[in-house]
């Protein structure tokens, strides 16, 4: 379980997060929606401590990781997480095999001779095969996202953080990634945190949806209830999003 309490983060000239609090239960698919540039990515980057919050607590399975300073302790804390970056962030100079097995080398005790089997299994999980020897430049955008997802879950993390998983994808590939997130939960039981400006995605996959507006969560509700909320910011965001579709 992840408990976020009073999380605040400021960048020069802008308070991005103001005392944000939420509780993410095991097995949840917790989505954070909001317009671009509102601080959604900052929120999950703080959760995995790619960014250091200015104040607040991030309790992951009972341990507060917000205040950890030691590099080795931080690396240990990040082991519980897999992270799907917006553009995939695959390492250009490495093959798909090397990309997916990267975390296995540094985060697990799985011997090197078993890496290839684990990689094939994770690639199959995201519906890919025979791509092990390709470089990221040889993959389509959708394939890159799937390889990135295979890399994110290769080490068997308890939590997977998705940063705008469907952004920049065509509707078919977007649908495929949506199915993958649901599939991943079904097959591996991971807890997911999804940040997105895609309301349709959030309402479809989430167990709870939060709206980040002006640095704060204006609502944290299950999707059915969230859709019916009369909060003006939420209504406006949902209506604009549905008009764009």
């Amino acid at each position: 379980m992840i408990i976020v309490e009073n999380l605040s983060k400021k960048f020069p000239g802008k308070q991005v997060l103001k005392n944000v609090s939420c509780k993410i239960e095991d097995g949840d698919i917790f989505s954070v929606i909001g317009p671009s540039g509102i601080g959604k990515s900052t929120f999950i980057k703080c959760m995995i401590r790619l960014l250091k919050p200015d104040s607040g607590r991030i309790e992951v399975d009972g341990a507060n990781i917000a205040d950890i300073e030691d590099e080795f302790e931080l690396a240990k804390a990040r082991r519980s997480f897999g992270y799907l970056f917006q553009e995939g962030a695959l390492f250009d100079s490495l093959t798909v095999m090397e990309n997916v097995s990267f975390g296995l080398k540094y985060l697990t005790d799985i011997p090197a001779f078993k890496h290839s089997a684990v990689v094939s299994e994770k690639l199959a999980l995201v519906g890919l095969n025979n791509v092990e020897n390709l470089k990221p430049a040889e993959l389509s955008v959708g394939m890159k996202k799937r390889v990135a997802l295979a890399r994110a879950v290769a080490t068997g993390p308890k939590y997977v953080l998705y940063d705008e998983p469907t952004t920049g994808l065509d509707p078919v590939t977007g649908e495929m990634v949506t199915e993958l997130i649901l599939d991943m939960k079904k097959k591996t039981g991971v807890t997911s945190v999804v940040v997105t400006h895609d309301v349709k995605l959030a309402l479809r996959i989430s167990t709870r949806v939060a709206m980040l507006y002006d640095g704060e969560f204006t609502a944290v509700e299950p999707p059915e209830k969230f859709q019916r909320l009369m909060n003006p910011e939420i209504r406006e965001f949902i209506e604009i999003s549905s008009r764009q579709r």
């Binding site: 897999g82 992270y83 970056f85 695959l90 390492f91 975390g103 540094y106 890399r151």
Partner: protein, 263 residues
């Protein structure tokens, strides 16, 4: 109004430079910390060293060969004009190449070729979140990216310099014998009679300082890249310009120090 504007701009530049120097110092500290705290990525280091060496080899060879040739030609002609015969051409070429031109020219070539590649590579990784991805996969970028590149520069630059010294002397030899009609034995005798081990050490030691500086500038500029593809281009250009200028500036101070130490 105008003077305020100039003062503001100057102040901003000074602050930016001070900030960059501070960040570079922290980066160097991190390099030393991880150097002793973790296993060196030998495969990555070897790959980088080979890449830096091969990337810069042909340009280094061409540059030093023609530098040796022109040194021989100019010193031979000047000597002929003053003394009616070309004197000490071998020594002039060898001393110039080994103590100054070999290390300096090779460092400039490596800054332009390999330094630019390192900045562009790390810069692209920065703007496409690959550096963040390293953290999420349990790897510190200093350990995985910087240490192998520092080691590669420290290994490749001295070797390339030795190669450049040799090629330059050969270039000088060809012009001396073909154009200036100096007997081959005189050219080589000139070199071996006057050149001492410490002359060679002087130039060789400088390459380690240059290599460390080029690695620092290239890696720092890569890691501080902002703003997509345009930012990568800007960072790469800045890294090359700063490295080249610093090679020349540092050369004077290191040379003065080595001379003071009797090397």
């Amino acid at each position: 109004m105008n003077s305020f504007y100039i003062a503001e701009r100057t102040g901003k530049k000074i602050l930016k430079t001070a900030n960059s120097l501070g960040e570079s110092a922290l980066m160097i500290k991190s390099v030393f910390f991880w150097l002793f705290k973790s296993k060196i990525e030998v495969v990555e280091m070897t790959r980088q060293a080979v890449k830096i060496g091969i990337d810069s080899l042909s340009v280094t060879a061409l540059t030093s060969f023609f530098t040796g040739m022109v040194l021989s030609l100019q010193s031979g002609n000047t000597s002929k004009n003053i003394f009616n015969e070309p004197l000490y051409i071998g020594s002039i070429v060898a001393f110039s190449m080994v103590k100054e031109l070999g290390p300096v020219l090779t460092s400039i070539v490596v800054s332009g070729r390999a330094g630019a590649v390192v900045t562009a590579e790390i810069g692209t990784m920065k703007v496409t979140e690959q550096i963040d991805a390293l953290y999420t996969l349990g790897t510190n970028p200093t350990r995985y990216l910087l240490i192998p590149r520092y080691a590669a520069f420290m290994l490749s630059l001295p070797i390339l310099t030795l190669f450049a010294d040799f090629i330059g002397i050969i270039g000088g030899f060809i012009v001396s014998t073909v154009k200036l009609q100096i007997p081959a034995s005189v050219y080589w005798d000139d070199i071996f009679s006057y050149m001492k081990v410490h002359d060679f050490t002087h130039g060789f030691l400088k390459t380690f300082v240059f290599a460390f500086m080029i690695a620092t500038v290239s890696c720092y500029k890569g890691l501080s890249t902002k703003g997509g593809a345009e930012g990568v281009g800007k960072a790469t250009t800045e890294a090359v310009v700063i490295s080249m200028v610093l090679v020349l500036v540092i050369d004077y101070f290191v040379s003065a120090l080595l001379v003071m130490m009797g090397i």
